[in-house]
Symmetry: C2
Subunit: 314 residues, 2 copies
């Protein structure tokens, strides 16, 4: 008979690990939570709950039965050579993130299609002058990546009355939206899209997918909303397309280098809105409930959702 | 046997009247459309289609059987002493306006609750720093006026996951929203509201309803979205509440005087966003279809919706 379950919590800071431990404390019977300490001793943990953990975690803790990632994107985790090949990874599936992502994307879409940035410029100039009314048919929205969050975003935009298409690796149905599948159908998906929303996982296949070749396939005066990973976008290609007038603008929440370096041209670009990776923040309470629920199921030998496919990288 | 139906089209400009005539032409069999001309002769019109018409219209055209207003708000029309007391008025009920109003209100709500204006200020300063995640429960939305458009707005905000209440003259049901009724319940409605959306008709009872006394009842750090009429708001009271820190901001599409005068303090106020009465523009095609459909019904003696109650003023 053991001493119960041990769980190590490892985020990108000592402070963060302690805060998450506190949030989990008392949530599972007969379970102890340990914050990760770079210079600490092995605790013999059964599970790890992580967000950008120190790679040594997987060297020191050798009894792990599963890793829970405190986010939807697991690209930084699966890239670690220290991660045992057979260790199951479980990602957060929503934890309040889909709702936030819907808000962020809808805001960006409305700002573009309803020309709120033009009206702001008019206000600064003290100018009163209506622009032609928006016709939704001129603003087809395309959502790349149709996971839990992408599907929620697509459905929300369908409800607003915009033409919507999605692009995914595998065929699926989203009422009111046309779904394009695989590399073959990517050009057709892009050609009918004006507002491109990127919600793809970052994998070797999707790295730099938002490059000149693909972005040039979009409708004229296109608008990019990137809420996935900075590595999806070839940043100079976007700048070139904006400079040539091919692109209208972009709302960007993620960047190749974060924080976005002070000297980066995005900061001062009049057609680019920069936000500091806040489109969807893991809500602690939702995350705790989801992970606790899944650990409970694992301990009873029940199946859980959100298992990462190491082959596909998400 | 007459010469068919005659319809006079009178907007606030000759050019506008001619454009609308063109839009209606050919839409009804055996019907002639005449643009209003200030110095013209009576045409003996059966119906008038109007938007801020010259009051003399109702003196010159004495055979009118109904007036169709090219907008949802009929306050400027019913205020005309020349308007015969028994002439039926029909207002536009949607004509693409509800969808636009949903977009405008949702944009304002997200901009406030997701702190996009703070992030824009950070971008101007080259500052990378996340703010605490939004908790929708801190942003209860209250919709004043639950007509066709108000109800659509309330439902859209319910779907986004915000707490929603509505306020109306008469009791009604909106799934997911609490409805407060009448003057008695106005204080309670305001006390639970942080983002106040005004979609009321302008009547003697609602004139200046957005005054200090009522605005002070809102939750701290309140935000006002006014998309109804400028006369609903006591503008100096809003400025005072912003100055005292009681209010967080406002998105205003309508004003006591339009265009907003150059010297008006709203133009330069950092917490006020001004748009030039564009929240919902009558879409010509939708308006034509709706009015043509109703005239067809009237000629067959069938009932139509959108009849204005002169007693209630909407």
């Amino acid at each position: 008979m053991g001493v119960g379950t041990k769980i190590i919590v490892a985020t990108d800071s000592w402070h963060g690990s302690v805060e998450w431990c506190k949030a989990f404390e008392g949530s599972l019977p007969d379970t102890l939570f340990f914050p990760w300490d770079d210079s600490g001793e092995p605790v013999g943990a059964d599970y790890a709950i992580v967000w950008r953990p120190a790679p040594t975690l997987f060297v020191r803790e050798t009894r792990l039965r599963a890793v829970f990632n405190l986010g939807a994107g697991i690209d930084s985790l699966v890239g670690l050579p220290e991660l045992p090949a057979d260790l199951p990874i479980v990602r957060l599936e929503d934890a309040g993130m889909a709702e936030q992502m819907v808000e962020y994307v809808v805001y960006g879409l409305l700002r573009a299609s309803r020309e709120f940035s033009a009206y702001e410029a008019q206000q600064r100039a003290g100018e009163w002058s209506g622009l032609p009314p928006v016709n939704r048919s001129h603003w087809p929205v395309g959502v790349m990546g149709l996971g839990v969050i992408g599907e929620r975003v697509a459905r929300a935009v369908v409800r607003l009355g915009y033409p919507v298409a999605g692009w995914a690796r595998r065929a699926r149905e989203i009422p009111g939206a046309q779904v394009y599948v695989g590399a073959e159908q990517l050009p057709a998906f892009l050609a009918r899209t004006r507002v491109l929303v990127n919600l793809l996982p970052l994998t070797p296949e999707t790295d730099s997918i938002l490059n000149r070749e693909n972005l040039e396939r979009l409708m004229p005066q296109a608008y990019l909303i990137n809420v996935a990973r900075g590595q999806h976008l070839v940043e100079q290609d976007l700048l070139d397309l904006l400079a040539s007038g091919r692109f209208a603008g972009a709302l960007l929440d993620v960047f190749r280098s974060e924080p976005l370096p002070q000297s980066h041209p995005f900061w001062k670009h009049p057609a680019i809105t920069v936000t500091p990776h806040i489109s969807a923040i893991t809500l602690r309470e939702d995350a705790v409930n989801q992970i606790v629920n899944k650990i409970g199921k694992l301990k009873q030998g029940l199946p859980i959702s959100g298992r990462v496919s190491r082959e596909h990288g998400y």
